[in-house]
Amino acid sequence: MSESTTYTGFWQESPRPGILGWLLSTDHKRIGIMYLTCIISLFIVGAILGLAIRLELIAPGETIMGAQTYNATFTVHGIIMIFMFLIPSIPAAFGNLLLPIQIGARDVSFPKLNLLSWYCYIVGAILAIIAIFSGGGAPDTGWTFYVPFSTQTTTNVNLAAFAAFMLGFSSILTGINFVTTIHRLRCEGMTWGRLPLFVWTLYATAWIQVLATPMIGITLVLVILERVFGAGLFDAARGGDPILFQHLFWIYSHPAVYIMILPGMGVISEIIPTFARKPLFGYWAMAFSSLGIAFAGSLVWAHHMYASGMSDFAVLIFSFLTFIVAIPSAIKVFNWISTLYKGSIEMAPPMLYALAFIFNFAIGGLGGLALGAAASDIHLHDTYFVVGHFHYVMFGGGGFALFAAMHYWLPKFTGRMYNHKVAVIGWALLFVGFNVTYMTMQAVGVAGMPRRYYDYLPEFTTLNQVATAGSWVMGLGLLIMFVNLWRGMCSGRRVGKNPWGATTLEWEVPSPPPLENFGEEDPVVTKGPYNFKGVVADEY
């Protein structure tokens, strides 16, 4: 490393000193770090609520909380994990950190709008927290705000829905920014065919954010208006239609699951080639499968509603379209595995998380097919199988991808390396605990245990206890992982530009990157993103 040992890159370079240098910063890296800090903090809150849910379910009957508290707990767990953790997690945090550097730009297209999106996020998060402790109590509708319950409950749904609206606005602004940035700010030589796959997935994600998010905006506004005026737009007795709410809600919220998983797939597509020392297999197939998932995923929303009342023909169509989404998803899995084939694989911590992602995502994806098929869905609908399934894709996929990204890129942005041995221990506990918890949930769901109850029949006791024990292992793994990363970032060994021997542009700038990323001259790209010839990892 040529820089002096006191070099701290963008952590110190700022037009304003102190805390204002962060709160008023338009530097994409600072905004990314601010997003990451908030997202991880809220994740910890959400995870504690999740552990509380599991603890309540350790035995039939009331264990640590009553029915109303339980309803509020899983609602707040869902709202935090979906709207405040998963949706912004990789795009807003690592997208901001990496997108401009990876395409050779100095910042995003609209830096001020970028800061505004962070403020929208913060306002949304604060309002959501206020909603828990004020008014008629924490919302108890589930994160889906389904009518008619959401228009009738006396809990603080208005504020929570408005908070989600603000978070959606933040997401839209990020999406507009990223699409524009990728179109306009690629450096010389950075053709579409040389974009790193992470950028391709951010591009597909940003389009979903722009295309779909306004729909949840208007839906939530209508819920609030219904509650304020009692108009009856979703009340069948007064000419409305409650099923229409579900359609409007899922028109956004199904594409939203691809907002949560697509950038994660991009992270995995970066990590696998680096630690297999091979170019990614099937570059264009990977790029277009991202767009394919974004497109096809926007047409399948009603597969959440097979049990709500739809014509058989509509069920058939949505079931068919759901199976279509499996094709680009499978292309990705096969291409990752093909990249590993005959590679020189190094089991570094980011790689372990990436491999865990593939494993979890494959299980979650196949479970999705069982739910997408109308016949099996009627049996599995509203059981714990659904809960197990979406945790496999959302947490086992999106969450693990975020952890992979943290282990892969945080050394880049802090200039320091964490302890690898501890990281592997944390990963192993997390991976084992995760599978014990959610595989058991799938099993208990197939056996017929419904979701959303604080109580259950005695015959489900053993499996629930296994799942709760698994959640403790998982919690311990998370704790070890976060502590290890934190210690590493504060006082770990210093690393050079390229500790992993990776090939995308961010590894050619110092760690941490300076303000404006590149020195006097803009970079010029002359080759594809995964050309490992002659690239060696820096010692650290």
Partner: protein, 200 residues
């Protein structure tokens, strides 16, 4: 400290993306309208007759004219005619105010007849008419909010033009505000026939 970066095409591109999100925002209400119209065609027609077509027509004329004035303002700034630009911006804002005042009187009249979301008189008219007026108030209300935002935006840009921050070679802000204003106009072009001009 930071290198000045300017990309007018990028700014316009971003604005078009944003306009797209606005279209989707309104489309939620249009979907509800389409479903309700299919369910209650006769009731929707009856309800439409209860609206005052003069208010609606005048507001259509007002908004179309304001779209013309803001488009002329963009042309004027391109030719460097600052004074003309400012006059046209202020006319646009005045027309926006006329629209909102008109709306205020229209809604006052309807509310005084007991027609508003959640009212008992409306509920007595049956589910079809209730749904029509619920959608009418929510859609026109959201549109009115956009008229207010758009007018404010044009006001801010006009002040910036007066201060010399928007000029003949740096007018993307005005252009984007005008684009927003055209969208507000466009939404109304769909609202007007759907709510005021329904006949059997």
């Amino acid at each position: 400290m930071s290198i000045e970066h300017r990309d007018d095409t990028g700014a316009r591109f971003g604005m078009w993306l944003f306009l797209y999100t606005e279209v989707i925002l309104f489309s939620g209400l249009f979907i509800l309208y389409a479903m309700a119209l299919a369910k209650y065609p006769a009731e929707f027609s009856d309800a439409s007759h209860k609206l005052n077509i003069y208010f609606g027509s005048i507001n259509t004329l007002v908004l179309l004219t304001s779209s013309l004035t803001i488009a002329l303002a963009v042309s004027a700034i391109q030719m460097g005619r600052i004074k003309q630009t400012l006059i046209l911006c202020w006319i646009t804002i005045a027309l926006a105010l006329v629209f909102l005042i008109n709306k205020y009187f229209e809604w006052s009249a309807e509310i005084s007849h007991g027609i508003y979301p959640g009212s008992e008189q409306l509920a007595e008219m049956g589910p079809g008419i209730t749904t029509f007026f619920n959608l009418y108030y929510f859609t026109a209300g959201l549109h009115g909010l956009h008229v207010f935002i758009g007018g404010t935006l044009i006001g801010v840009v006009a002040v910036m033009t007066a201060k010399g921050k928007v000029t003949s070679d740096r007018y993307t802000l005005l252009e984007n505000s005008a684009l927003y204003w055209h969208l507000v106009d466009l939404v109304w072009i769909f609202l007007f026939p759907l709510y005021y001009l329904l006949y059997h």
